[in-house]
Amino acid sequence: MKFTEEHEWLRVEGDLVVVGITEHAAEQLGDVVFVDLPEVGTSVTKDDEVVVIESVKAASDILAPIDGEIVEVNEMLADEPGKVNDDPMGDAWFFKIKPEDLSQMDDYLDEAAYKALVG
C-alpha cells in the first residue's frame, strides 16, 4: 500500500489501483455527510479533482493520484457517507482506477514514511 501527502491511500488489486483516504484524513475531516463520486469511464490525469467529500465542516477535494480510467466507484458511499469515518482504510474506498503507468505509484510514500509524516 502507498500513501500520498494529501492523505490518500493506493492499493494494487490485480491490474487496478483502489483509492481511499487515510484514518488521519477522515479524522481531520470530521463527520462525512456527502461524497460526490466520479462517473465510471472517466479518464483522469494525476491531480485532477475526482471526488468531493463534504463533512459537517467543509468540502474537500480528492485528487486523482495517478493517470488512468475510473472503472468502478463505491456506490455504497452515496447512501452511507458516514462509512468514510467508520472504515476509511477498508469498506470506504472511493474508486478503482485502471492505471496507464503503474510506475507513477513509485513517487508515493510507504506506510512507514506516511506514519512519520502524520506523526
Binding site: G30, D31, V33, F34, D36, V52, E54, V56, K57, A58, A59, A78, P81
Partner: protein, 374 residues
C-alpha cells in the same frame, strides 16, 4: 495566534480535548472529541454546554432609569423597548442609515437598567455606536464576566438543582440570582432552537460552574461547529453571513422583531436609523427575502452558492448565506436570499454546485421545531 483573546474556560476546553480555532479574535473550541455530529444530537436529546464568553455584555444606565435608557436605545434599534416588561428580553438589530443591519443583539429590561448581549466580532463597533448614539446614557462594557449557554431538553432539570428559581422562568425571561457560584445573570434563551439558558457568571466562578454543569450525566460540552449546525436548523441568523449591512431586517425576514409601535401608524413609528426604507419595506414588501432551502439530493449547498430560477440559463437571482448538513433533519439545509416572487414555500430553486444546477425547495424556517418554554 499570540494576539488571540482567551475566555476563562480556555484551560478547561483544552483539558476536555477540544480542537481550538481562532474565532472573532478569540481562541475557541470548534469541537470536542465527541465530534460535531454527536455534539449536535446530544444537545437536541439531552443538554449541551457552550462557552459564549467571547460575546459582549453591556449595561446601559440613564438618569431616567430603565425608561430613560430604553427611550434612548429606541433611537438605535427598531424595537419596542419602552413596552418591554421588567425581567423580559427581546431580540433586536442595530440598523444603519441605509436600513442595513450593523449587528443583532439581545436587549433585556433589568428593572433600573438595560442589559444587552452583542456579537463578539461586532462588540467594539457596537459599543462605540452606543456611546456615540446614546447621549446621557452610561455605556458600561462588562469586564470580568463569562457567558455560558446550557441548551437542550435537560437544561432546566440540570440548572434548577443549582438555581431553583430558573425552573419558573419562561422563554425570554431574565433574572439575577444568588448561587454557590456568586451572582448569576440568567436568561431563558439561546441559539439552538432548544429550551435552555444563557448564564453570565463572574470570571472567577466560571470554570467551577462549568465543571459542575458538565459533571451531570446529561450535559456534554459543545463547540462552535455544532453551535452553527444547531442554529441553522433553528433558522437563526449568523451575523456577517445571513445578515449584514447590505441586508435590511425586512429582507432578512426579521420583520417579527419590529413591533407595531415602531411601524407606520404606531405611537413611536420610525425614529431609528434607516427607518424610511425599513418602514416602506414593511408596508410594501422587500424586493428579496431570506428563506430556508432544502436541497433535493444529499449535497450540501454552502455559503456563497449562486441560486437560479431555472435549471438552465439565466443570471443568478440570489445566493446561499449559510449552508451545511443538519444532523437532526438528516440532510442538507441552507438559508439564502431569493427575489420575493420566488420566496413562497414550495418554490423550486436551483443552486449551482460544482458546475451543476441542483434543485432545492423553499422551506419554512425553522427546519426543526422550536422547543422553547413559552
Amino acid at each position: 495566534m499570540a494576539d488571540l483573546h482567551t475566555t476563562p474556560l480556555n484551560a478547561l476546553h483544552r483539558e476536555l480535548g477540544a480542537k481550538m480555532v481562532p474565532f472573532a479574535g478569540y481562541d475557541m473550541p470548534v469541537q470536542y472529541p465527541m465530534g460535531v455530529m454527536k455534539e449536535h444530537l446530544h444537545c437536541r436529546a439531552r443538554a449541551g454546554l457552550f462557552d459564549v464568553s467571547h460575546m459582549g455584555q453591556v449595561i446601559l444606565r440613564a438618569p431616567g432609569g430603565y425608561a430613560g435608557a430604553a427611550e434612548a436605545m429606541e433611537r438605535l434599534v427598531p424595537v419596542d423597548l419602552l413596552g418591554l416588561a421588567e425581567g423580559r428580553q427581546r431580540y433586536g438589530v442595530f440598523t444603519n442609515e441605509a436600513g442595513g443591519i450593523l449587528d443583532d443583539l439581545m436587549i433585556a429590561n433589568r428593572g433600573d437598567h438595560i442589559f444587552v448581549v452583542v456579537n463578539a466580532a461586532c462588540k467594539a463597533d457596537d459599543i462605540a455606536h452606543m456611546r456615540a448614539g446614546l447621549s446621557g446614557v452610561e455605556v458600561e462594557e462588562i469586564a470580568g464576566r463569562a457567558l455560558l449557554a446550557l441548551q437542550g431538553p435537560a437544561a432546566e432539570g440540570v440548572l434548577a438543582v443549582l438555581v431553583p428559581e430558573v425552573a419558573a422562568m419562561r422563554f425570554m425571561d431574565v433574572g439575577v440570582f444568588g448561587s454557590a457560584f456568586g451572582e448569576l445573570w440568567v436568561s431563558r434563551s439561546g441559539y439552538t432552537g432548544e429550551d435552555g439558558y444563557e448564564i453570565s457568571v463572574t470570571e472567577g466562578q466560571a470554570e467551577s460552574l462549568a465543571r459542575t454543569l458538565l459533571a451531570h450525566e446529561d450535559v456534554a460540552p459543545i463547540g462552535l461547529g455544532a453551535r452553527d449546525s444547531l442554529r441553522l436548523e433553528a433558522g437563526l441568523c449568523l451575523y456577517g453571513h445571513d445578515i449584514d449591512t447590505t441586508t435590511t431586517p425586512v429582507e432578512a425576514s426579521l420583520s417579527w422583531a419590529i413591533q407595531k409601535v415602531r411601524r407606520a401608524g404606531g405611537v413611536r413609528a420610525g425614529g431609528f436609523p434607516g427607518a424610511a426604507r425599513i418602514l416602506t419595506e414593511l408596508a410594501q414588501g422587500a424586493p428579496r427575502a431570506r428563506v430556508g432551502l432544502r436541497p433535493e439530493g444529499r449535497a450540501p449547498m454552502r455559503e456563497g452558492t449562486a441560486l437560479f430560477a431555472a435549471a438552465e440559463g439565466g443570471e443568478a437571482v440570489g445566493h446561499v448565506t449559510s449552508g451545511g448538513f443538519g444532523p437532526t433533519i438528516e440532510g442538507p439545509m441552507s438559508m439564502g436570499y431569493v427575489p420575493r416572487a420566488l420566496g413562497a414555500e414550495g418554490t423550486t430553486i436551483y443552486a449551482e454546485v460544482r458546475g451543476k444546477r441542483l434543485a432545492a425547495t423553499v422551506t419554512a424556517l425553522p427546519f426543526t421545531p422550536a422547543r422553547f418554554k413559552r
